[in-house]
C-alpha cells in the first residue's frame, strides 16, 4: 500500500507531543502484547523506556523486522504490503518515549526491502517529518539476530549475538541509551491503536488476548501463507481456512523454539498466548507448521535441532556443549535405532540446557525436543525396536535455511 492509499485507508497519524503519556496509556489499556515471540506487554515496555534514566536523556527505537524464524514470513508480508503502518508505529513510539532516532532491522526477504525503500522515498517526497530512521540489514546474522539484545549488539557495531541481562535494552541499549525494541507487527498495531483507540482494538479477539495477530501457516496445507486472525480463534479453524490437507498428525506452534501439538486433538486450542499456554504450547511468533501423516516428526525435529545447534552464538558453556549433544541425540533417535540410554540422555540434556544461557535459544530447543519425544512417542518406540521409519526419509516439511543464510 503506497502512501496515498495508506492515508486514504487509515487516515492521518494523530499528532503526539514528545514525551506524551497518552499513547502509552492507550496501548496499556489495549492490552497489546509483543508479536515477535515473547508476547510481553507492549505498554510496559514503552513505559520502561519512557521512564528509564528518570525520563532524561536520549532514547532509541528499534523496529525488529529481522524475522530470523525460518517458518515465519508474516513480518516480510507486513513490510511488503503495509510499510507505512510500521513506519507510523516507529514515529509514534519515538514520540511517546522521547526517542530521537530509529532503526528498522530487516531480514533477507527482498520484496520487503524494496517496498520499505519506496515507502521512505514517498515519505521524504511528502515532507513527512519525524525522527531519522536507519534501515539495517540483519539478514546475514542468522537465527539469533532477531533476539533483542543481539540486535542492540549489532547496532552498537558488534556481532549479532545475545548479551547477558541486566542491563536490559530498555535501561541501556544502543549507544548505552534506553532502547525500545519492538517487532514490526507490534509497531503496526501501535499505529492502529493510536488512530482508533484501545476499545476498538479490544473489539476483536479474546478477553485474555485482545486484538488480532498475523500468523504464518505452513507445511501440510493447500493454502499456506500469512493470515490475520482474531486472537483466540480455534487452531482448527485457522488450519481449515488454510486448506488443511488431511490427514495431518501434528502441528508445530510458535516457531523453532516452539511445541508440537497432536492433531486433531489440538483443533480446539485457542490461538492466543494464554490459550496455547494452557495446552502446554506457546504462541511465539505465530507460526503453525502442519506435519502431514506421511512425515516423521522425530526426523523433522532432529533437522531443526541440528539447525539450531548450528546457530548458537558460542558464548555460554552449557549451550556450547549441550546443543550439539542434543542435536546428535535427536539425530540418533530420528535416523538410528535409539536405545533407552540415548533417549534418556536426550531427555536429560533438555533439562541441562534450560535456563542456563544468556538467551533463550537452548530453552527453546529443549522445549521442542521434549514435545517431540512426548507427541511422537509411538514413533519413538517404533524407532527403538525396528530402527528409523520410512517416513524419516520423506522431504522435510519444516524449512531449514541454506548454509549461506546462516
Amino acid at each position: 500500500m503506497n502512501l496515498a492509499a495508506h492515508r486514504k485507508h487509515y487516515g492521518p497519524v494523530p499528532l503526539l507531543a514528545a514525551g506524551s503519556d497518552a499513547l502509552i496509556t492507550e496501548v496499556e489499556r489495549a492490552g497489546l502484547t509483543g508479536r515477535g515471540g515473547a508476547t510481553f506487554s507492549t505498554g510496559r515496555k514503552l513505559r520502561a523506556v519512557a521512564t528509564a534514566n528518570a525520563g532524561r536523556g536520549a532514547r532509541v527505537v528499534v523496529a525488529n523486522g529481522s524475522e530470523s524464524e525460518p517458518a515465519s514470513s508474516k513480518d516480510a508480508v507486513l513490510l511488503a504490503r503495509s510499510p507505512h503502518l510500521v513506519l507510523d508505529g516507529i514515529q509514534l513510539c519515538a514520540a511517546a518515549v522521547g526517542a530521537s532516532r530509529g532503526y528498522l532491522c530487516l531480514g533477507s526477504r527482498s520484496p520487503a526491502a524494496r517496498s520499505v525503500r519506496e515507502a521512505f522515498a514517498e515519505r521524504d517526497r511528502a515532507g513527512l517529518g519525524g525522527v531519522p530512521i536507519e534501515v539495517v540489514d540483519a539478514a546475514a546474522d542468522g537465527y539469533l539476530a532477531g533476539q533483542e539484545t543481539a540486535l542492540v549488539s549489532l547496532l552498537n557495531g558488534g556481532r549479532a549475538v545475545p548479551a547477558f541481562v541486566p542491563p536490559r535494552p530498555s535501561d541501556r541499549g544502543v549507544r548505552r541509551q534506553p532502547t525500545l525494541v519492538l517487532n514490526v507487527e507490534t509497531l503496526a498495531q501501535v499505529a492502529l491503536i493510536a488512530r482508533y483507540g484501545a476499545t476498538w482494538f479490544r473489539s476483536v479477539g479474546a478477553d485474555d488476548a485482545p486484538g488480532s495477530a498475523l500468523v504464518t501457516v505452513t507445511g501440510g496445507v493447500s493454502r499456506p501463507g500469512v493470515r490475520e486472525i482474531p486472537l483466540g480463534t480455534p487452531l482448527g479453524e485457522v488450519l481449515r481456512r488454510s486448506g488443511l490437507a488431511a490427514p495431518a498428525q501434528a502441528v508445530l506452534t510458535g516457531g523453532y523454539f516452539g511445541t508440537w501439538l497432536p492433531l486433531p486433538d489440538a483443533f480446539r486450542v485457542p490461538m492466543s498466548a494464554p490459550g496455547l499456554r494452557a495446552a502446554g504450547a506457546t504462541f511465539g511468533a505465530g507460526v503453525l507448521a502442519v506435519l502431514p501423516a506421511s512425515s516423521c516428526g522425530l526426523a523433522e525435529t532432529a533437522r531443526v535441532a541440528g539447525y539450531l545447534a548450528s546457530q548458537i552464538a558460542d558464548q555460554c558453556g552449557p549451550c556450547r556443549n549441550g546443543m550439539p549433544a542434543l542435536a546428535e541425540a535427536m539425530n540418533w533417535i530420528a535416523f538410528g535405532r535409539p536405545d533407552a540410554d540415548i533417549i534418556g540422555w536426550a531427555r536429560q540434556l533438555t533439562g541441562l540446557i534450560t535456563g542456563r544461557g544468556a538467551c533463550h535459544l537452548p530453552d527453546g530447543a529443549a522445549v521442542l525436543a521434549r514435545s517431540a519425544l512426548a507427541v511422537f512417542s509411538a514413533d519413538l518406540r517404533a524407532h527403538a525396536t525396528a530402527g528409523p521409519c520410512g517416513r524419516a526419509q520423506v522431504a522435510a516439511t519444516l524449512p531449514i535455511p541454506p548454509r549461506s543464510h546462516r
Binding site: 535501561d171 558453556g317 552449557p318 556443549n321 541441562l352
Partner: protein
C-alpha cells in the same frame, strides 16, 4: 530443600539469589567447591545453581564465592520472579 530454614519473604536478605553470567563463566569450578550446598557441576563442569533465595546461613559463603570467581561470572542479585520483566531487579556484584 528440606534441610533449609523456611523462606521469610519479609526479610530482604532472603530475597538475594545467585546467578551465573553464562557468557563470562569459564567453568573454573571455584564456586562449586566453595558452595556445594547450592552449586553443583553439570557434565561439562559448568555450575548449576539451585533455584531459590540464598539461605541466611550460607550468605557469607555465597559472597565469598562471588568474590573468588576468577571471571567474575557469579552474581548475587535481587530475586527475579519472571525473567521477562524489564522493570524489576538490577543485578549487582557483591563482595
Amino acid at each position: 530443600m528440606s534441610e533449609l530454614p523456611a523462606h521469610q519473604p519479609a526479610d530482604p536478605v532472603h530475597e538475594l539469589e545467585l546467578r551465573v553470567n553464562p557468557i563470562a563463566c569459564d567453568a573454573h569450578g571455584v564456586c562449586i567447591e566453595l558452595l556445594p550446598e547450592l552449586i553443583t557441576a553439570d557434565p561439562w563442569g559448568y555450575p548449576v545453581i539451585r533455584p531459590g533465595p540464598v539461605p541466611l546461613r550460607l550468605l557469607a559463603l555465597a559472597r565469598r564465592a562471588v568474590a573468588d570467581c576468577p571471571t567474575l561470572a557469579l552474581l548475587l542479585a535481587e530475586r527475579q520472579e519472571g525473567r521477562q520483566q524489564p522493570d524489576r531487579s538490577r543485578a549487582r556484584r557483591q563482595g
